[in-house]
């Protein structure tokens, strides 16, 4: 039980995908201008990342390893992730139009989110079991959502301030991201290996 908690905390806080592993930086910078958008993106990513972690584990364990085709890992993972995103989009659209509208454009965008592929590959590297993979995916996604929402909140406030002209726009956003990253370094050592 304890190791699961360690995985969850470790992925969400200590080894945060965005701020420590530097994965998924495109949505982190791109979809963080408004809190509502950030929340939508965060939930969509959580959904897909958890599913993708499970599916890629299945592909790895049931197809690639028995057939000794590990060199096709990246290719097949991308294929699976893209298919999952498409499937999810079709399903949500039917099952919950409200959620579909809320997620909107962000759902298809997740296909290109490197955090999804990165987590799938890390799962293989760390030789996780199915349950561990699932938790690893969910934890990473939760960390991603949290950081995205925090960052969006900060950017919303920064947008209203009189930022000196040379710093306004992306520069101040990058500086803020750097400060946030440093803040998250404080979590290092929270979980002793």
């Amino acid at each position: 039980m304890e190791e699961y908690l360690v995985i969850l905390l470790g992925t969400a806080l200590v080894n945060n995908v965005v701020l420590v592993k530097f994965l998924g930086l495109c949505p982190f910078m791109g979809v963080s201008k408004k809190i509502e958008a950030a929340i939508g993106m965060g939930f969509a990513t959580t959904f897909v990342l958890t599913l993708a972690a499970a599916a890629s584990w299945a592909v790895e364990a049931l197809i690639l390893v028995p057939l000794h085709l590990e060199f096709l890992r990246i290719l097949s993972f991308i294929l699976v992730i893209a298919a999952i995103v498409q499937f999810t989009e079709a399903f949500i659209r039917k099952a919950s139009p409200g959620l579909y509208r809320a997620l909107g454009i962000y759902l298809p965008l997740i296909t290109t989110n490197c955090a999804v592929l990165g987590v799938a590959l890390l799962n293989v590297q760390e030789q996780h079991s199915f349950a561990e993979s699932l938790l690893y995916g969910f934890g990473s996604a939760a960390g991603f959502t949290m950081v995205l929402v925090i960052f969006a909140g900060m950017r919303e406030r920064i947008a209203r301030l009189a930022v000196p002209v040379p710093f306004s726009g992306p520069p101040i956003a990058f500086i803020t991201a750097g400060l946030l990253s440093m803040a998250f370094m404080g979590f290092a050592g929270l979980v002793a290996n």
Binding site: V59, I63, L67, L69, F71, L72, L75, S76, L79, V80, A83, Q86, F87, A90, F91, R93, K94, A95, P97, A162
Partner: protein
């Protein structure tokens, strides 16, 4: 080698079939946004957009053949609403939202010397903003006029022009305070 190709093909075909079935099974009719767009338009059927009435204009915006600034009387407010409903696609095609505000609300003005009382404008007015009778000088009810230009086009003596609505005490408001920060000396 062959194994690899076969596996990838199988994976691709398998996922393709799943997606195909899903697309069939979860197919949703896209809700028609025409009604929504029509509700946002003024609904006066003034024809200034070049379409036959507001419904036709709404259809054109929905299928992307008209831009968000299609409705001149609606002005910037309506244009922004259309972008919100129809998405950024209707913004394409050179629709310049920024330039919309400069025009300001307009209202028709009748040069009474030239008016012959033909009642053409009065019949054409979509908001009944022109009052008059045959052989009588017509007059515009300022508050009801939306500045759609329909009467200007039909007037045989060119007695109608468009003037911008003046600012009054009722619609005046303080200007936005400007902030220029002087660099510290």
């Amino acid at each position: 080698m062959i194994e690899a190709i076969a596996t990838m093909s199988a994976l691709g075909v398998g996922l393709g079939i799943v997606l195909g079935v899903a697309a069939r099974k979860f197919h949703v009719e896209t809700p028609p946004i025409v009604d929504e767009i029509e509700a946002a338009l003024p609904g006066t059927n003034c024809g200034q957009c070049g379409f036959a009435g507001c419904h036709a204009a709404a259809e054109a915006v929905a299928d992307g053949s008209a831009v968000a600034t299609v409705c001149p009387p609606g002005g910037r407010e309506v244009a922004l609403k259309l972008v919100e409903i129809a998405g950024p696609s209707c913004h394409a095609g050179g629709a310049d939202l920024a330039g919309q505000e400069d025009a300001g609300p307009m209202a028709a003005f009748i040069f009474e010397d030239h008016c012959t009382g033909c009642t053409k404008c009065y019949k054409r007015c979509p908001t009944d903003a022109i009052i008059g009778a045959a052989k009588q000088i017509h007059s515009v009810i300022f508050d009801a006029c939306i500045g759609c230009d329909a009467c200007v086009e039909v007037c045989p003596t060119e007695a109608i022009i468009m003037r911008s609505k003046p600012r009054t005490l009722r619609n005046w408001y303080w200007p936005k305070p400007e902030e220029h920060f002087e660099p510290a000396a």
